[in-house]
Symmetry: C2
Subunit: 474 residues, 2 copies
């Protein structure tokens, strides 16, 4: 495709995306797609000869859109908001169009330095001290893996330079809570700790890790001859937006010389609001921190900010320096390849750079405050409606809700919950994610898609009551 | 930004990218940027209020473009071709504009199933048997890490479910060659093996791993009480495009029950040419394989294909299944989150899907053959020119070259090599990556940028001779 062909096709595609975003509210949020239905529409083998761009574009309408869950839909209340704000989308378009790679500073100086500046802008926006250095990773899952590997290497004084984890005389232990994200346990297993060395620290009634229980677990492990290595705490858990109390946890981590990683993937965006920052009091005592501007804030996926207090340690664990990557600038510049797992890197900083500049911090704050207010409005409705219950504090924009009609035992209630949310999702009117809370199914309402206004939340609430009021099928 | 504002700004950006690609040959390939020069042009703090899109776009011209190494430039001969072919760029634009996430099949059925179909198209294009299952990862580095973790878990019968690597009684060992990519050793260290348990198997005069030396190293480790675990072989090494002989290596791996991972990051694209496939004879005996269509083939970065022969094993190592990710379709569908490290996934399949359809396989083959011919042409020029030497066979599109004027000892020759390539790169006329080969500096010429025609290679050759002919500064 020549630049002139790209110009023509690109204009078509821009119009197509603009139209998609403009009419998205008219689409069913979830498609009725059956497994295998998309595959069945595609040829088994690749084409030997070119197809027209029109044919490809037509397949977006014919095959792709009818097979998508529409994350940008104003009535999307599932998982978490994954806002691909259109200014940020354009930043990503610039990145892909430029087609440059950040293997080393010299391999694209602007890529490296704009990332440095924008991660520092975000540091200021969430109220972190200048002691933190940031880099962009793909996801919080990867960031947690990096954090636990860095913890492992700090505790073992760089066992990777010797016999690795397998040469350690005593097992290293990782602490987290049952409400941390599933990626924490996954990271611990991938990093080689083993499931037996992952301690699930008990939580309190608000699903927050109990510092006294953490201290007790560490003491028990020391008595048993194990080596406490890291604690993975959460600022804003996936299920109920619980905040592990970072101040006492950081004090324990510091006293015990263990690594503290904080997963603020979703709730980190809220810290651009000064009134929310009390929720992560103690954050300055952490060793590493992940925030996903690709969630609520609006940076197009993927864009996870990973902050550390000791970048030298990170670089020592992650660095590679073969001759073909060396340049004259080394030693005077930040080589981002030494801050994560992949060598190749996109120009991802353009996504938050475009977003923050086109919106301005004040408008981003206003949008998040709108969502907090919408969540409180819905919480008020749920609280004052018969048979409906809020199951956790509405700390930010997520509600944990259950419809509890009289006369259902626990199992029947689980079936009722899953049935009505399934009915609602299949109707296309809205999308919600059910989840287990303390062993029982309930429904998460995650408010904060960029297009979601009060009217959409009100429509959701009506659809929820309708779906739950259908004849019980228990 | 509203859809209508996006429409207007998007058209501007499309024109800007089309103009950039159309005039890219007029730009110096490498910028004269000094460390810190980009940062100095940016505000220290984020803007509270919005800026116009015009101001942001203007900064692409004012700050970004003058600070980039232009990877899409027709006289870019550094590292490897990282072609962001414009059809593929549009596929990425569709992905970012749709803003959907593949947390689970149900979280976007079309995202999952088109990935399944396109990775199978690519499997057919490179001539692999139907025994392989593919998934898209970000990079070959990450894929190697996944492969070594999977090897670790197969050898230990899922130690991750018990005490992890740290509970293994005997050290697990990884084998590779000095010419494998730096990411292999990095992956082994991150996976916890430890540097002492990474064996560098000797290579032959063509930089290919010696199977007899591999067998000897394995035998020595078994005698010493260690457990051979994995061999990471390379199809097309970074420095000189050497091909480790897969047939005998696979036979050893099979006999010893150790994992064989093949890194075909760069050269895997060549396997769409049937005449190249003899180079990786034996590939069907590997356990895992990484190919980067985001290099020579033209898929916009990032797009690494990771193929495995035993997907159940991969899923068992990588899977997580918290309640909030469960859906009614589980068990009948492929959940890509269980095939890699990150949970969140972009709709990356659109990049190869658009590329393969807009080009057709025949045109992709023709472009790669053009590059192979250009490499042979330059090889002929180098061979027949006094004082110039080819240091390795030109198997595909990379040349290892040195200018060796009379009377220089080895150290002086190293200084001369680095000096002339630095002069050439700074001139902006072309970009080359120097590297060490058998302990001495030489220059890699990696041909295959999409816009590179014979005339650009001829211009490079003239610029090389000019740069090398400048007064010696040794």
């Amino acid at each position: 495709m020549t630049p002139e062909e790209f110009r023509a096709a690109g204009h078509q595609l821009i119009d197509w995306i603009a139209d998609y975003r403009a009419r998205i509210a008219e689409l069913p949020v979830m498609p009725p797609t059956e497994p295998g239905a998309i595959k069945a529409q595609l040829p088994d083998a690749p084409p030997a000869l070119p197809e027209s761009f029109e044919a490809i574009l037509a397949d977006l309408d014919r095959i792709v859109v009818p097979g998508l869950l529409h994350w940008q839909h104003p009535r999307f209340f599932g998982y978490f908001p994954s806002n691909g704000s259109l200014a940020s989308v354009l930043g990503d378009y610039a990145s892909t169009g430029l087609g440059v790679l950040g293997l080393a500073w010299q391999a694209s100086p602007a890529l490296s330095e704009i990332e440095e500046v924008v991660t520092d802008w975000m540091r200021q926006m969430v109220g972190l001290s200048p002691a933190w250095s940031g880099v962009i990773q793909d996801t919080a899952s990867t960031s947690t893996l990096i954090a636990l590997i860095c913890a492992r290497e700090r505790t073992t004084a760089y066992a990777l330079d010797r016999g690795g984890l397998q040469a350690e005389p005593r097992p290293l232990v990782v602490y987290t809570s049952a409400h941390s994200h599933s990626s924490v346990e996954k990271a611990a297993l991938l990093a080689g700790f083993g499931r037996q060395n992952v301690r699930i620290v008990p939580h309190d009634a608000q699903q927050a890790m109990r510092p006294d229980a953490l201290a007790a677990a560490i003491a028990a492990d020391r008595r048993a001859g194990a080596t406490p290595c890291a604690v993975a705490a959460t600022s804003g858990t996936t299920t109920s937006t619980a905040f592990d109390p970072l101040e006492p946890i950081a004090a324990i981590a510091s006293a015990e010389s263990i690594w503290l990683h904080v997963d603020a993937a979703m709730a980190g965006s809220a810290m651009i609001l000064p009134e929310c920052r009390h929720l992560w009091n103690g954050i300055e005592g952490a060793d590493s921190l992940a925030i996903n501007p690709h969630k609520w804030l609006g940076a197009a996926f993927d864009c996870t900010l990973y902050y550390v207090r000791d970048p030298q340690h990170l670089v020592r664990v992650m660095s590679t320096n073969p001759s073909y990557l060396q340049t004259a600038a080394d030693g005077r510049v930040k080589n981002n390849r030494d801050w994560g797992i992949p060598l190749g890197r996109r120009f991802r900083a353009l996504k938050p750079w475009f977003l923050i500049r086109e919106q301005g911090v004040a408008a981003l704050q206003a949008r998040l405050r709108r969502d907090l207010e919408n969540a409180q409005w819905l919480a008020g409705e749920v609280r004052t409606t018969a048979d409906w219950r809020l199951l956790a504090p509405v700390t930010l924009q997520t509600l944990c809700v259950r419809h509890e009609p009289n006369g259902l035992d626990a199992d029947a209630l689980d079936r009722h919950t899953r049935a009505w949310v399934d009915r609602l999702n299949r109707s296309g009117a809205a999308y919600l994610t059910p989840a287990l809370l303390e062993g029982r199914w309930m429904v998460r309402v995650s408010i904060g898609a960029e297009m979601t206004e009060r009217a959409h939340v009100a429509a959701l609430w009506q659809a929820m009551r309708q779906a739950a009021a259908a004849p019980l099928t228990v």
